[in-house]
Symmetry: C2
Subunit: 477 residues, 2 copies
Amino acid sequence: MAEQEKEAALPSKASFSEWYNDILHKGEIMDVRYPVKGLYVWYPFGFNLRRNVYDLIRELLDKDHQETLFPLLIPENEFMKEAEHIKGFEDEVYWVTHGGMSPLDVKLALRPTSETAIYPMYKLWVRSHADLPLKLYQIVNTFRYETKHTRPLIRLREITSFKEAHTVHATWEDAAVQVDEAIRLYTEFYRKLAIPVLPSKRPDWDKFPGADYTIATDALMPDGKTLQVGTAHHLGDNFAKTFDIQYENPEGEQVYVHQTCYGISERSVAALISIHGDDKGLVIPPEVAPVQVVIIPIIFKEAADVLQACESVKGKLEAAGIRVKLDASDNRPGAKYYKWELKGVPVRLEIGPRDLKNNAAMMVRRDTGEKQQISLDNIRDEVLSMFSVIQDNLYEKAKQGLDQRIMECISLADIKENLSKGISKVFWCGDKDCGLRLEDEVGAGILGIPSPQESCRGKCVVCETDTDTKVYVARTY
Amino acid sequence: MAEQEKEAALPSKASFSEWYNDILHKGEIMDVRYPVKGLYVWYPFGFNLRRNVYDLIRELLDKDHQETLFPLLIPENEFMKEAEHIKGFEDEVYWVTHGGMSPLDVKLALRPTSETAIYPMYKLWVRSHADLPLKLYQIVNTFRYETKHTRPLIRLREITSFKEAHTVHATWEDAAVQVDEAIRLYTEFYRKLAIPVLPSKRPDWDKFPGADYTIATDALMPDGKTLQVGTAHHLGDNFAKTFDIQYENPEGEQVYVHQTCYGISERSVAALISIHGDDKGLVIPPEVAPVQVVIIPIIFKEAADVLQACESVKGKLEAAGIRVKLDASDNRPGAKYYKWELKGVPVRLEIGPRDLKNNAAMMVRRDTGEKQQISLDNIRDEVLSMFSVIQDNLYEKAKQGLDQRIMECISLADIKENLSKGISKVFWCGDKDCGLRLEDEVGAGILGIPSPQESCRGKCVVCETDTDTKVYVARTY
């Protein structure tokens, strides 16, 4: 897809918002020109990245979950059953009202999330304690009629890649353990994307509609705002009562189940792009890079030998399961470097006549730009070990960036001052009025109480009551 | 998911329609109890099969296509642009008219297929001859407001698994070659599902709305009806003109592109289940079976040795990438055989104390029921070679079944008589009136002209004009 406008330089990442919009296009992640607000198109390169990211989620979940697929359309009567849940979503639901030219008897909601599609079936599927725990997930498109400013991968009207898990347990305690397990899985998943995340228990007014409580994971974006990149909800027996999901316990009694649900969306891709990218473009962790290695032949006269050596290296790496691109196009090497740096390829190998004489290649890291000569004989091992070095470096760098931008604050003025830098950590008494006043006065949100909770003691930043609870406060996406 | 009704026996496959409905439930493929007509739920086992089937499609297409993802919602104005296309779909489209409580400014169609979502973007993406050919595909949910009788996997209101490819070419001829290539790919894909398909060029009145022509592949179902399981459409420059998709040719002129699209849906899974299954349940080809081998320990007293041997066999097979289940549950062996035969597992291994003494296992084929003793030493190779024997046998059996049920007919009475058995092959002059009269008189449809066309000469079965064209006629799903 040759597009002339690609020639213009990328804005500096210091102007994060412009950089983000531009990298999505120039890096061929998403095309924003689809003719409906809030709906975007995955470029093939972006979708390839998405595939790799979601393959990781599947791999993690498949260990003890099963994948399934429920319908998109939810009939109004089912959707309206859970009062709190519908209150949380009623302004955001797309409604299908017509089939062909005829009005439908029952309006159909496009799922904003699938509790009300799945739980009527769980009522049929769960009979006895032997059926529990039940752990299913699906990866689907979901819909929100967003009235706020939309943004690709972050705030969408069609979330194209919602991974939602729904589990059923015998007891409230079992479900609570599963919520922690979900957060552990998500932390592991984000570790593979080299992204450190902060889990916290959301305040009550910010929990999932219909849940007992919500634990969410946030990532810190370059502009100091946090992005919620995963949530896990303890549903108690609230939905079980609404949808009449009971099981027979070993004593022969019918009891309500306890449930959880937890989700991740393409915000995972947004975080990956935003946190690792730099002024030259994307920087993609080797685990998920669509192209992990690009080979650039440096050709003067004796092209044949060099190309042959490049092909041979390509074959060796591919045999080890590495995703390799040999760029033998007519462009100058400099233009090729520029292109593949923009695309975030973790490792570049340059092979020219002089390298060949030394039976070597020049290996260049995308994350630091460092070069080193490596022998062609053990190129596979050199590349694989470089992947793990890059993967660790990206994580450590992101972790440092996060740690440095979590500030302990002891006053509302403190918080305000720190808002543009990152996350504030403050004592809070737990009272809702104090919480809302805090949010209002600093113009930012309470993310929640760090999970697991830290042991500490101090005075609420609003009312100065003694408390053993700290919360994260930040501007959020 | 323990369900009591599973105990009832499966109806004989001779009553195909009842058998089909029952196997979907008992085999845990689809649950039909979702509270909206024409929408169904994939059981985890069924979805596992679906994953394997679609992984095959991806593998075939990824060789020279790229995967991508476009929005579900198509604005009314784009959807209405191509006159013939909209005529073909207007009675079947679901319309979103409301977001939250508010009516939308522009109605949004749920894609019945994605031409009108994708081609406005192709207009932006295609600039020069160097961009061509462009070959993209996506695997998505699509929607049809079916007023006819719906049926799981076959006639749906939400097609959950539509693989649609959309290609762009410089010339009409290049696009024609791609249509043939699509049919070749589909034939290869169905070969891996052990399903023989018949490609034929659809008559003009049955082509895709907006296409120059359509070639489709049909599978023959046990009840003698054909199921359309893949279609490839030559779109000419029809959509290019509507959506203004042009490229600059080497002479510097702006010319319209030529396009194709081709699709496969979960009907592929319906065909697989229907064609291979038997009175005992599913028979799944090893290529796509969620469980390829089940190991049943035959335990009397000395359980430990046997279980240890079973675990060891399981480990060996898994190391070779084989999907294995060891059923060490408390059920009797007979009950286990019944269960895993119902689930269509291609190979069963029984290991008891006597087998152990002989360093052997009993291997039982699901497709024929044949048993043979094999040595534990080369169990991996025995199993792998049995997979390929089963795969070939399933295909040959299905191919024979198909060949035997294609009848050459020389009169309308002939056709009528053969309808319940399968497909009739008759001479047809190519005239639309003759075609429609034929369809009307025999109460069946013209599938199309075999592709590639056979060399032959005879008299039209309706008007007795000389013709060199034969067509397939059949009752269709």
